[in-house]
Symmetry: C2
Subunit: 341 residues, 2 copies
DNA sequence: GATTAGCACTCGACTTTAATGAGTGCTAAC
DNA sequence: GTTAGCACTCATTAAAGTCGAGTGCTAATC
């Protein structure tokens, strides 16, 4: 579809624009070593590329900037994936060679590293619930009517929730229930916990204790997996350093979007495995129509565990970010693989 | 020190400036119903007030704006504290009459309400460690070498940490240790846990188990209270709506400051009880020299539990914010009082 | 003596105009 | 097919001019 020369020129324009954030003129392309043609020739090619929809002109006498289609072609065919420099690489390596105990810490820290290395905003979704299973369930009484329910997963993640003991149910009875749960439910994936509880434990419990209904109700609440605090953001203020967002109002709509858990969940829902690039208007959310979102899922044994995302302006260092995500998602999978044994 | 008329004029100027964010001229003050003097008279008084340091002039032919000293006088002597409207009040009341189980949820939600009602940024510090005590300590083994240590406090708060079992120590031994800890340490304030462990338990443990040194080391790590995730922010992007922060760079230094846990801790450390107002340069942090920080501690039985803060431009609605903080800090104390029984 | 009307003056904000120059498209020569 | 040359476009910047809100001071008034 495009000639070699057109590809070369398109590549040069996008590279330049990514660096400078300014419309690129024919002269500056000609002066680069790698394209040995005069400005006039390049102008002709640029006009063709614009006609084909790969470039745009902010106004008549300005240079060209890439269109969404241009970026798309660049990402699909042109970009060079070896743009991670040695320094960054060693930083990543040393991070993943460290031994860390807390999974949340790992994720939080990984988010920080990503936003630092890229100067964009990083968004991490932690390992999904359905891939972890119950390791231990316990109940710590606080007083006569309330207790803390604690759920430990096989990955060492801990969820806790305060519950009210139903009136008429004694603490001894509750402890009996907990013992039963621990013998019957250990190893069950978290996401199945609730259904399993109802399907298989109803009669079982009924035999041992009174007030079965109320107890089940409370346990339901306790086992409700809350997926609220599983989004880790880092480098949100990096958005403010991008020249395209020097306008406060624009940046506010973006930051407000990042504050909304459901919106982020929606952006990340149903992503295909591997690396995914959504450029500008390819995103559903209007607030990030000037942004690109690059996501990578990480998985162990073919099971997707979570997602890493980088949000930046459409004028993004695609090569660097994609390479980095590739590396980190794999390291992440490796590290978590050890966790899941 | 100031005449009645000067106070009245100062009050009028600050009120106007808080509403408009523009330097206030003599004419506009004169036109307000409450000050019955001609612009010329007001100009004379304004000149005096400037000489006294309560007002400033951005440039010769502009109106006056309040200085830090002016705001200080306003806050100390002039501001009207009944500026919370009915609607807001009912919102607060209905929030605190709700029954909620999770303390973290309460705090997070309170932060949201505050930032919504004020349009500034709210910062909440959760109940301090030293006021909570150990309720229960448990250890859930994950595999041969690692386990999750779980600390439940008397308030139902749960801390957890993954630890490595020292080589040579068996799980049975660890469980023995946990039993001992639960009989000896329950009721001890969290902040004293570590010192108590060393001072009183050393010999005790030595008698029962081998590898005492290593076990103590691990427990140390487990009991290390991490005070990281105890800061709750809400409405950070509200900063972006203030006209004084239309400059992206200024707002970035502020948002970056809010991202730094230690900096916030420092701002909130050693606050006297009750409401505290720090105006502009009265703050240590240079990044918020154009901001005012209003804080309120909330306490039960004279014991300070935590702090609520509102950060906004120096041109802040002091009356409203202070009244609101007064109400909310009291309601918060009440609610937590029930918690601590 | 306190208040106010009047007036000259200041100075930022905004508008207008002109100059600059980066970049283009087109044509004709190579 | 490539490129030099040239007229043209148009955002950006600077300079000059206008406007008006607001001041300080003086002298008249209450």
């Amino acid at each position: 579809m495009l000639t070699d020369r057109q590809r070369m020129i398109l590549n040069a324009i996008i590279d330049d624009y990514i660096r400078s954030a300014e419309p690129v003129g024919s002269r500056s392309i000609s002066k680069r070593g790698d394209v040995g043609f005069s400005p006039a020739t390049i102008r002709n090619e640029m006009a063709d590329l614009e006609e084909l929809g790969f470039l745009e002109q902010p106004h008549t006498s300005a240079g060209r900037i890439p269109s969404t289609k241009g970026y798309r072609y660049y990402v699909d065919h042109l970009v060079n994936f070896n743009e991670v420099n040695e320094q960054d690489l060693t930083k990543v390596r040393s991070f993943f060679s460290e031994k860390v105990n807390e999974m949340e810490q790992v994720i939080q820290h990984a988010a920080m590293i990503l936003s630092n290395l890229t100067n964009y905003t990083s968004i991490l979704l932690g390992p999904e619930m359905f891939s972890t299973s119950l390791k231990h369930f316990s109940l710590v009484p606080l007083d006569a009517t309330s207790a803390v329910a604690i759920i430990v997963t096989n990955t060492g993640h801990v969820e806790n929730r305060t519950i009210q003991i139903p009136p008429g149910v004694s603490m001894e009875e509750m402890e009996k229930v907990v013992r039963i749960l621990n013998t019957k439910l250990v190893g069950v994936p978290l996401i199945r916990l609730k259904s399993k509880l109802h399907a298989e434990m109803g009669q079982e419990l009924d035999r041992y204790i009174d007030h079965c209904e109320e107890v089940l109700g409370v346990l339901d609440k306790a086992l409700q997996s809350d997926d609220e605090h599983r989004i880790f953001l880092s480098g949100t203020t990096n958005m403010l350093t991008q020249p395209e967002f020097k306008d406060v109002d624009k940046v506010k709509t973006i930051l407000d979007l990042l504050d909304e858990t459901p919106a982020i969940m929606k952006m990340f829902s149903a992503l295909p495995s591997g690396i995914q690039v959504r450029i500008g208007t390819e995103n559903d959310q209007e607030a990030i129509a000037n942004c690109s979102l690059i996501t990578a899922t990480y998985s162990v044994d073919g099971q997707s565990l979570g997602t890493i995302g980088i949000l930046g302006p459409t004028r993004m260092e695609y090569g660097k970010v994609i390479s980095l995500l590739n590396i980190i998602s794999k390291d992440m999978a490796l590290m978590l693989g050890r966790w899941y044994k």
